[in-house]
């Protein structure tokens, strides 16, 4: 899977849909297996929803940038934004929502759908890196 060009979309819930479509197209073109595509789309949508709803809020004119690339052992998806960062305590221990909870499952799903999550915030930019291992190491 060659490195795909980066995408940028408006940091809105409609923009998240656009981002998901671009991600899917990129992964389908690279023959990423169905199971990994399903997990990565869910992880990216949950992460992007959190950026829009909690990081960006009412700020207009903000974007989310996404890139997808092959790395040793799997696929790496990077999301970048300029909103408020995720509070570190939420990332230190990701808790599972109760069965009857109507919200609060985003981080749980992001970690469940990926094999590694890295997050950094610096100089007003947030960078979330999601790694998904692929059987055999690479997309075929």
């Amino acid at each position: 899977m060659a490195d795909a060009p980066g995408f940028s979309c408006a940091a809105t819930l409609e923009g998240v849909r656009q981002l998901a479509g671009l991600l899917q197209a990129s992964m389908q073109a690279a023959d990423v297996p169905d199971a990994a595509r399903i997990d990565l789309e869910l992880a990216v949508v949950e992460a992007a929803n959190n950026i829009v709803l909690h990081g960006i809020g009412d700020q207009a004119g903000m974007n989310i940038e996404l890139s997808v690339r092959q790395v040793p052992g799997g696929v790496e998806v990077v999301l970048e934004d300029g909103g408020s960062p995720i509070p570190s305590h939420l990332l230190d221990v990701v808790t599972k929502a109760g069965l009857e909870a109507e919200s609060g499952r985003g981080l749980e799903l992001i970690t469940a759908c990926t094999d590694r999550v890295d997050y950094a915030s610096s100089a007003g930019r947030n960078r979330l890196v999601l790694f998904k291992a692929l059987a055999g190491g690479t997309a075929t």
Binding site: D34, E100, R105
Partner: protein, 111 residues
């Protein structure tokens, strides 16, 4: 778009959209809230057209489930793999009964 019908003692909710996500949630929430007013507590949820659902969408159906009470029942028909994966990851496949089609869902909620 969401179609809601009541057949005998069962509320049948058919989601026509391919994505049940945070963008779709506000309109869908209004529809579901309206549909469940004075409705029977047996629900068939037809997700046969839904290709993708996120946790916001799922939360709306948890809300429906919680309205049904202890004697209620809900069955989910026709889930696609991405939607089934969401139910599995959240362990909500233990509360929502996933079945292949609407006929099976009707039979299940009728007991």
């Amino acid at each position: 778009m969401t179609d809601v019908t009541i057949n005998d003692d069962i509320v049948e909710i058919r989601i026509s959209d391919e994505r049940v996500d945070a963008a779709a949630a506000p309109a869908l929430k209004r529809t579901l809230d309206q549909a469940m007013i004075d409705a029977p507590n047996k629900v068939v949820l037809d997700l046969g057209n839904v290709q993708f659902m996120d946790s916001t969408g799922l939360g709306l159906f948890v809300s429906v489930l919680k309205k049904l009470g202890p004697d209620g029942a809900i069955a989910v028909a026709g889930v696609h793999p991405a939607v089934a994966r969401l139910f599995e990851l959240t362990r909500l496949d233990t509360l929502f009964r996933l079945v292949p089609d609407v006929a099976a869902a009707r039979a299940l909620v009728r007991g």
